[in-house]
């Protein structure tokens, strides 16, 4: 039973983290440009990666959410 309780805590923690990632603004490359987009939101297009990340970070900070950068099949969280 203790093991099950531990598993549940781990699963809940993982789900919370997943939820936080899903809420975040996304930055990703597309056709040589950089897109900033939140799930269910509108896209903003930038020519440079750094500019896109900076804009996303400012917006995310005001909404108390994170910023995810999707690149090469991986995701990294920037703050």
């Amino acid at each position: 039973m203790n093991l099950m309780a531990t598993d549940q805590v781990t699963r809940d923690k993982r789900l919370k983290r997943f939820e936080r990632l899903v809420r975040a603004d996304r930055v990703r490359p597309e056709d040589g440009q950089w897109i900033v987009k939140k799930l269910g939101g509108k896209s903003r297009i930038f020519s440079g990666k750094d500019e896109a990340i900076e804009v996303a970070k400012r917006k995310a900070a005001s909404e108390h959410i994170g910023v995810l950068v999707f690149e090469g099949g991986h995701v990294s969280e920037v703050s």
């Binding site: 993982r14 997943f18 990632l21 899903v22 799930l39 269910g40 999707f70 969280e77």
Partner: protein, 205 residues
């Protein structure tokens, strides 16, 4: 709709094959159910339970107002057919016909691989009007969405193209998101997959 209300809302029993060839249709169907504001259930959700499989399925059918039954893999053209899906469809129809007042509200969608395929092996279904998905996830999404839209009276469900667009986003992001939470697509269970789908679609609304 919040996660909690999705879970306590209308449950949809998914009776389908669980093989690798069917996985893309299965995942698209599960995603569509949640994108339309319903909650998916299937026999895989408590695989670690020591409860007898049939009892588990009967209990689940009792808890689900809606059912999606895919018979596309039953007809094997000469090889031994797979009877699990027709058996579970029979249990669902039996519950609908012989259950109490609440069970009479049950409704189901029958899916087949090609049009009129069911007539070759389960002709008693004539009149049920199965929907063919031609083994394409996009077609399955359309059929499931049409069925569910008729059972969602409190709000509209998204259109097929919108669901497909959201599903593509989800499928594209999922591997990287799983990596970030130290999991991988190959090893997650159905219950975990459903948890992730549910959390994702809530943000997409």
């Amino acid at each position: 709709m919040s996660r909690k209300s999705a879970r306590t809302g209308t449950h949809v029993f998914v009776n389908c094959p669980f093989d690798r060839q069917y996985q893309s249709i299965f995942e698209a169907v599960i995603f569509t159910i949640h994108a339309c504001g319903f909650y998916s259930r299937c026999a895989l959700e408590n695989a670690d339970s020591d409860q007898v499989r049939l009892d588990k399925i009967i209990k689940m059918i009792g808890e689900c107002e809606l059912g999606i039954h895919d018979l596309s893999r039953v007809d094997t053209h000469g090889k031994l057919p797979r009877f699990n899906m027709p058996l579970e469809l029979g249990l669902f129809l039996g519950a609908q016909k012989f259950g109490g007042k609440k069970s009479r509200r049950k409704a189901c969608l029958v899916l087949e691989g090609e049009r009129y395929q069911y007539q070759r092996f389960i002709s008693d279904l004539a009149g049920v009007d199965p929907a063919a998905h031609f083994n394409q996830p996009e077609e399955a999404v359309g059929a499931v969405r049409r069925f569910l839209s008729g059972h969602r009276l409190d709000q509209d469900v998204p259109g097929r193209n919108r669901i497909l667009e959201r599903y593509r986003d989800f499928s594209g992001e999922l591997p990287a998101l799983l990596e970030a939470v130290e999991q991988d697509r190959e090893s997650i269970t159905f219950a975990e997959f459903r948890d992730y789908v549910e959390r994702y679609v809530v943000q997409q609304r």
